[in-house]
Structure formats: C-alpha cells, structure tokens
C-alpha cells in the first residue's frame, strides 16, 4: 500500500456505508412490494432528508472531480458551475412543486408518466423516457470514473475494487430502493462538507493565502477573455453554459426522482432556499483546482503516473494526498467515492422507474404491483452492470463525450415537462416534433464540434454568438413545438386526452 493510513480510513468508511445501505430498507418502513415505496421511498422524505438526498444526488463525485479539473486545466470558464447551480433553484421553486402535486394526485412516479397523463400520448412519454435513460447511462459511468480516480490514487490495483463497489451498490439498491441512497447521502454530505471546509482552511494556509494562490494563475486563465468586436466571445459562452445547464439539471431522471420523493411541495420550496448551501461548497471546491496549480502537484514525480493516466482529473486527489495528513486524505477520498455511489444508485432507480412505468407497462406487458417492483429492481441492476461494462470496455473519453451529449438531449425535454405544468397550450405531437428537431440539431452540432466542445459559434445578423449548443437547440425545439401547436390545436386537438385538471396543479 502506497498510502496505508488513507487506504484504511477509506475502506472503513466504505464498509460503514455498505452496512447502512442494506439496513436502510427498514428505515421509514413501508410495503416494499409497491414501486412507490421502492422507487420513491414512499414519498416520505421531509425537509432535512430531502436536503441531504438532493445534495447527494445533484453534487456528484463527477462534479467534485471534473469541476476542479476544469479550473485546473482551463481556468475561469470552469467557474460556470457556480452561476449554474445558483439558477437551478428559482427553476426548482417555480416548476417542481406543481409537478409534485400533479404526480401525487395521479400516482405518477416519473416525468414521462406525467406527460402521458397530460397529453394522453404514450409516444411522447416514450421519447422523453428513453431520452432520460440514454442521458443517465453515461452519467452513471462517469460516477465510476470519479471513483476510479480516487481508488487509483490510493494505489489499489486494477478494476477489481470498482467491480466490488458497484456489485455492492447493485445489491443494496435492489433490496432497499431509494431509502439506501437517502440514508447514505447523509454520511456522504457530512464528509464532503468536512473535507471542503478543512481543505480550504489548511491548504491556502500552506500556500500563503488565497491572494498567493490566485497570483500563481496565469492571467489568461484567471478571467474570461474579453470578447473581440462583433462577438459575444467567452461571455455568451459562459452565460449560456450556465443557463442551459441549469435548465437541464432537474430534467434528469435522478433529479426528478429526488424531487418526487419529497413528502410535500412545501419540502421542495423550502429546499429551493436551503440547497444553495451546496453551491457555496461547490464554488470553494472549484478553487481547489487553482490550489493544485499553485501547489505545483503536476510536476511532482510521485504523481506523474497518476496525471498520465487520469489527466486533469487527477488534480484533486494529488493535491489532497500532497497537502493533508494520510488519514484525512482517506476521509476525503471516501467522501468522493460515496459521492459516486449515492447518485449512481438514484440514477439506476430513476431509470428503472421509467423503464417499468413508461416502457415495459406501455409497450411490452402490464404487470401488477409485485410484478412492477420485480421489473424495476431487475432493470436497476441492468443499469449498474451496463455502466460498469461501459467503463471497462470502452475508453473513458467516450463516457465524457456521451455525458456531454446527454446534457444536450435531456434539455430537449424542457418544453414538454416545464411548460406543461403551467399550460395546456401545446399539442402532444407538436412537443414530440420539437423534441425530435432539438435532439437532431443538437447531435448534429456536437458532431460538427467532433464531440468534444459544448459551445458552438453561431453567426446571427453579422454578429458571432458563441452559445451552449443545448440552450440554442432547446429554443429551436420550443419554437417548433409552439408553431405546430397552433394549427394542430385547431385541426386535431388532443385536449380531450388530458386526465389532469387545473386544480391538480395548485
């Protein structure tokens, strides 16, 4: 063992979490043969559990590795994560308490189910559901990459630890459902807060304070480049990246599952004001990327092989190993690894809920209560195994590219989900057409960028407007949906298919 103290602490904490995961089934006990119990924790989570669950769900291991890595490699642009995670909360406050109410009234457990009820259109629900599953798969895979980075940093050998960790994850997800990540999230979030608070006090003290850290960052990386005349430059790129990411976040199945598991809309509204605490944490964490630059970990011989293997993603683990005592690095690494397990479990459950309610029961075979849970549990294992296979069989860079594409795809469900809790102006088929245009144009533009860059330079009326592809294409999507809804409402209205009434949303 290269880092014995760190490794021992790391393994002890992970064992603790596994025990918690299996005992969670008995917590806030319910009838586990019902999918609302397995897949939504019985909609029983109050303000504090939801705070931990959503915090653990949205601020993932991938975030904790990738955002500082982006700061480390590219500089100021990586800080878009902060405005992004500020703007998600007004959206959460405005849209999702309404979605919770209508879902509760009609027993929906997924976003697509709501659309099927709203428009009487199972094809629209299928499109949105499949988008969610496809966007989720690489996201789970990236959680594994995050975990792999810290396991590799500890010098543990090969893929075996990762396979063990995710087998255990699949097992406790199967038995405990959403209660497992909810309980584990409490441990994970406390460890993450502890890690970041200690790191931002101890490391800057070693490096001579924040002013000294920022002084070591090259001017080109410290701020965004000022745009040339006639172009929005880095400014529109930064702003659209933040806004588009914010619009996309709560559309991910795992985010929606976290929201729908709340015990009341009041819990969601409260959390819109309480969850931003995590965004402060994320801002400080992002700066760890700059601390890694200032500490010069990249040129230290003991980290050379790590950087070679994991690239900029190795910046955080290297800095923690270099600057903190071994046992504390163990705590920090455990926080990151558990930070991979929590969202991965919720993602697997969320995808399983969608497969069960929006694909299997609609297009394959209807099942009773017990059958539903069986299908969902099995599909959650398929998701986890699929993600592990993904990571073991294809290069990690593909997972990153697919995650990038996943963000472009999931935002295309924004008009259908977010607009439909306010209005029935749209026609279901028009929303489906808008979705198709959005998916196609976003994929095409990302392909033009060789699947590596999220920002495309649009030329509008003699101006250059670099924009996050997801945001530009979802605007197109909404315009198509609106333009087609007008004639379709007049000629072939589907309003009779709406099983919800206005009172369901208030």
């Amino acid at each position: 063992m290269t880092y014995p103290a760190a490794t021992v602490v790391f393994l002890l904490l992970l064992v603790l979490v596994v025990v918690l995961g299996f005992t969670a089934a008995r917590w806030k006990a319910g009838d586990m043969s019902h999918i609302v119990e397995w897949g939504l924790g019985g909609r029983r989570f109050g303000t504090w559990v939801s705070w931990f669950l959503l915090g653990g769900d949205l601020y993932t291991a991938y975030t904790f590795i990738a955002i500082p890595a982006l700061m480390f490699g590219a500089g100021a642009i990586g800080f878009f994560a902060v405005p992004y995670t500020v703007m998600i909360y007004p959206i959460l406050y405005l849209v999702f308490p309404k979605l919770w109410k209508v879902a509760h009234r009609h027993g929906y457990i997924t976003g697509p189910e709501f659309l099927r009820g709203r428009y009487g259109n199972r094809w629209l629900a299928l499109a949105v559901g499949v988008t969610g599953i496809f966007a989720t798969m690489p996201y789970i895979a990236l959680q594994l990459v995050g975990m792999q980075t810290v396991i590799g940093a500890l010098g543990l050998p090969g893929h075996l630890p990762l396979i063990i960790a995710f087998s255990v994850l699949a097992a406790f997800t199967y038995t405990s459902g959403l209660r497992a990540p909810a309980m584990i999230a409490i441990v994970k979030d406390l460890l993450i807060y502890l890690t970041v608070i200690v790191a931002v006090i101890v490391i800057p003290a070693q490096l001579g304070g924040f002013a000294a850290i920022f002084a070591k960052i090259s001017p080109a990386k410290l701020l965004l480049a000022v745009p040339p005349a006639g172009s929005g430059g880095a400014y529109t790129g930064y702003a659209t990246l933040a806004l588009g990411s914010a619009m996309a976040l709560f559309l991910y199945p795992h985010a929606m599952t976290g929201i729908l598991s709340a015990s009341s809309p009041k819990v969601i509204r409260r959390n819109a004001a309480l969850l931003p605490a995590y965004s402060v944490l994320l801002g400080l964490l992002a700066l760890i990327g700059f601390m890694a630059v200032a500490a010069g970990v990249q040129t230290m011989p003991q980290f050379a092989s790590g950087f070679k293997q994991y690239g900029a993603s190795f910046a955080v683990p290297a800095l923690l190993l270099n600057s903190l005592p071994g046992w504390f690095a163990g705590i920090a690494f455990a926080a990151i690894a558990i930070g991979a397990l929590v969202p991965a479990a919720i993602m697997a459950i969320a995808a399983a809920n969608i497969f069960t309610r929006d694909i299997c029961s609609q297009f394959i075979a209807k099942a009773g209560h017990k059958g539903e849970v069986r299908v969902a549990k099995l599909f959650s294992i398929v998701m986890v195994v699929g993600a592990v296979a993904f990571i073991l069989l294809i290069p990690n860079s593909y997972a990153v590219q697919l995650q990038l594409l996943g963000g472009m795809w999931i935002i295309q469900t924004f008009p259908a989900i977010a607009f439909s809790v306010f209005t029935r102006f749209f026609n279901g088929w028009a929303l489906l057409a808008g979705w198709a245009v959005g998916i196609f144009s976003a994929t095409y533009l990302v392909a033009l960028n060789h699947f590596t860059a999220a920002i495309f330079a649009f030329h509008v009326l003699g101006h250059t407007l670099p924009s996050y592809i997801a945001l530009a294409t979802v605007v197109l999507n909404a315009m198509v949906a609106a333009a087609l809804s007008l004639p379709m409402n007049a000629l072939a209205s589907d309003r009779a298919g709406d099983e919800t009434v206005a009172a369901d949303y208030i």
Partner: protein, 62 residues
C-alpha cells in the same frame, strides 16, 4: 407577483461583463470569484423571501 423577485437571480448570475474583472478583490479573491460566490446567498435569500410571502398567503397546510 412576488415571484418576480426570482428574476434578479438570473440577472445577477448572468451579468458576465459586469463581473469579469480582477478588481476589487476581497480577502485575496479577485472580483470574478467572490462576486459569484456572493451571488449564491443573495439568490437563496430572494428565494426564501418569496417562499415566506407565499407561505403566509397560503396558510400552513400546503
């Protein structure tokens, strides 16, 4: 219409030309960084105000 208070959250978070500067710095943080971190609690307070006002209007049952 208290919900209109949520609009400034987007404005202050997206005002890139306004905050893309190094000065004035605070505790060693360039403006770009401390401003955006400061936007987080400002946004949370605005959401909290909207929540309180709507909650009072609604009664405590919803």
């Amino acid at each position: 219409m208290i919900k209109l208070l949520l609009l400034p959250v987007f404005v202050i978070a997206l005002a890139v030309p306004f905050f893309n500067h190094a000065a004035p710095s605070l505790f060693g943080f360039p403006f770009f960084y401390w401003y955006q971190i400061a936007v987080v609690p400002v946004g949370a307070v605005l959401i909290y105000i909207v929540y309180r006002v709507e909650e009072n209007r609604r009664g405590d049952d919803a």
